[in-house]
Amino acid sequence: MSTAAETALRARARARRSGVADDEARLGRLMLAPAVIYIVALVGLPFTLALLYSVSNVTVGSTGFRIVGIENFRSAIENPTFIRALRNTLVFALISQALVLILATTLALALQKNFRGKWFVRLLILLPWVAPISLGTIGWLWILEPIYSVINWTLRSIGIFGPNTWPIWLGQPRLAMASVITVHVWRLLPLATIILLGGLSSIPQDIHDAAAIDGANFWRHHFQITVPLIKPILLVALMFGLIFAVTDMIVIYVLTRGGPYDQTQVLATLAFFTGIDGGDLAAGAAIALFLFPVLAAGAIVLLRLARRSEVV
């Protein structure tokens, strides 16, 4: 074989070997593609549609489409149910997050210590997160059921309530709100606890030892050393929790459907009932989008705070 042919052959072999995996620019784009497609198709597109719907008059029943501007938002604000739902959303989100933060910090601190059967307790705490949300909530539906409720049954057997005096957990306005908040806290607690456990374990033992030597008692140690050091992670957990509480509807949908008399109606459920069940897509989109600017601004502020309080 002539040398020229040999060289050509070798060059071709080399070209065959250097495939797409060697072209980093192309490979990078290729690997990013699934994520980009996913976000555009399943987040970007519906979001744009929602934006568009919220300023239109689109309904399930007709093919008419006209831009009506902020008309949907104005009529939402004028609707007393919407105002009620807005207030409920804030109460629901703020109270549940306050409880989650306190309970998750306590739990995380307890779980950091070594004790017998720790793995079992960890498993129990993680369980609500692993179980399908609707399934868990249906379990709670039974627990809070007026006639067959285990809580009422227990309270009655130890003699706290007589017949016909026991509470109807999901039927009395205040109790209904307290119940949905309780279930929501139960559900979010595992995630928050795990996030905080991660934050706690990132504090070097030396810092805790130094605080002990320096004479800090439990409260000083906790609020002046531990909490400031996990503040960035606390804020991130808080942000996720708030967004979750405002945008999620499964717990309320399963337990009360917003009742009684809209006492547990939140924006997410109201948007669903108006847009999907009621067929008024435009009004539903407007309700759903109402808190978007507030949430986005809140998220930015919390992330900024988290970065500023990062210390190590």
Partner: protein
């Protein structure tokens, strides 16, 4: 100021024993160094004295009082950690003030005390900074200031210099000793670095495998080692050992010198032929690697010659070296414990 005492103190972690019956007592205002290789139990011992670790058995006394069940904050101690353990979210001033606040000092007294401590360690200009804005040396001073500010009875230091670079370490060592002398606070200092131990300690407790092998002033521990572990652990390069029957004999590399150096010396000498294999010139010293003959069956020897000794030494040649009889130490070969001199070679 207080005396720290441990009585037959033990610490078990599961099946392993970290500290195995240590009896130790400091003197008033003493600088006591716990020296040993990593894993010898020295840090565990210090943490038990601090109250960060509970002993499995035995008693700890501070100032004559049994403190077994007292939490760290009630023991009137201060501690400096290897990592310094500064609170990263607080300024230097807040770091130094923290122990004062935690122990309920009067609010009006705190700024003055913080200033006093900062002045002593020359860190006044750093008071408003956060730990991450400080260099290693500055952090170490802040850690010392935070420990000193409450004027503790006992000062515990866990390898406080090991995170500094070599040059800074020498300086910090000198300063540390000056502060300790000035405050005259009883100090227990943990290190694996024999140079620090020799340079700082009033006394050194050499530890190995959870036990104190020898306790004494630096010179004594160095020149009169109690066993082969202490003899081998201290000194760099380590002691040269020779085994014969049931006896181990050892001498330090800097004691075995050319015969001429010992001219006019009164003490009895041992003369030996030294066959040189290799010479390492380290600047201040020359390390000469070689071996002995005759009864020593070509055992390897390292000799440390100061560079002030102008002597031409060539690899491959043999020279007449000598050592004072008193500089050769004898140990029981099985137990490693020091024994009476049992010279197993001929006197020259």
């Amino acid at each position: 100021m207080a005396i720290v005492e441990t009585r037959d103190i033990k610490k078990r972690f599961g099946d392993s024993i970290a500290v195995d019956g240590v009896d130790l007592a400091t003197k008033e205002g003493e600088f006591l160094v716990l020296l040993g290789p990593s894993g010898c139990g020295k840090t565990t011992l210090l943490r038990m004295i601090a109250g960060l670790e509970k002993q499995s058995s035995g008693d700890i006394l501070i100032g004559g009082q049994v403190v077994n069940d007292l939490p760290p904050r009630a023991r009137k101690i201060a501690m400096v950690f290897q990592s310094y353990a500064l609170y990263p979210h607080m300024t230097v001033a807040e770091n130094i003030a923290f122990p004062l606040k935690a122990q309920g000092a009067k609010r009006s007294e705190i700024p003055g005390k913080v200033e006093w401590a900062a002045e002593m360690f020359g860190i006044k200009r750093l008071l408003e900074r956060k730990p991450r804005q400080l260099s290693g040396g500055e952090r170490q001073r802040v850690a010392l200031a935070r420990a000193m500010v409450r004027q503790p009875d006992v000062f515990l230091l866990d390898e406080p210099l090991s995170n500094l670079d070599a040059k800074l370490r020498t300086m910090a060592r000198d300063e540390l000793q000056q502060f300790q002398r000035r405050l005259a606070t009883t100090t227990i200092y943990v290190t694996h670095d024999q140079v620090e131990a020799m340079g700082l300690g009033d006394r050194i407790a050499v530890m190995n495998q959870g036990k104190v092998r020898q306790l004494g002033p630096p010179q004594q521990v160095y020149y009169d080692p109690a066993d082969t572990f202490v003899a081998g652990f201290l000194g760099s390069p380590p002691m040269n050992f020779f085994n014969q029957d049931n006896v181990s004999a050892g001498f330090r590399p800097e004691h075995f010198l050319p015969k001429e150096v010992y001219q006019g010396v009164q003490e009895p000498l041992i003369n030996l032929w030294f066959h040189v294999n290799r010479v390492e010139n380290l600047g201040a010293d020359r390390l000469v690697y070689g071996h002995l003959r005759d009864v020593f069956q070509s055992e390897k020897v390292i000799v440390n010659l100061p560079s002030t000794l102008h002597l031409h030494i060539k690899p491959g040649a043999a020279y007449e070296f000598a050592i004072k009889e008193q500089d050769v130490k004898y140990f029981d070969r099985t137990t490693g414990v020091r024994t009476e001199p049992k010279p197993f070679w001929k006197r020259a």
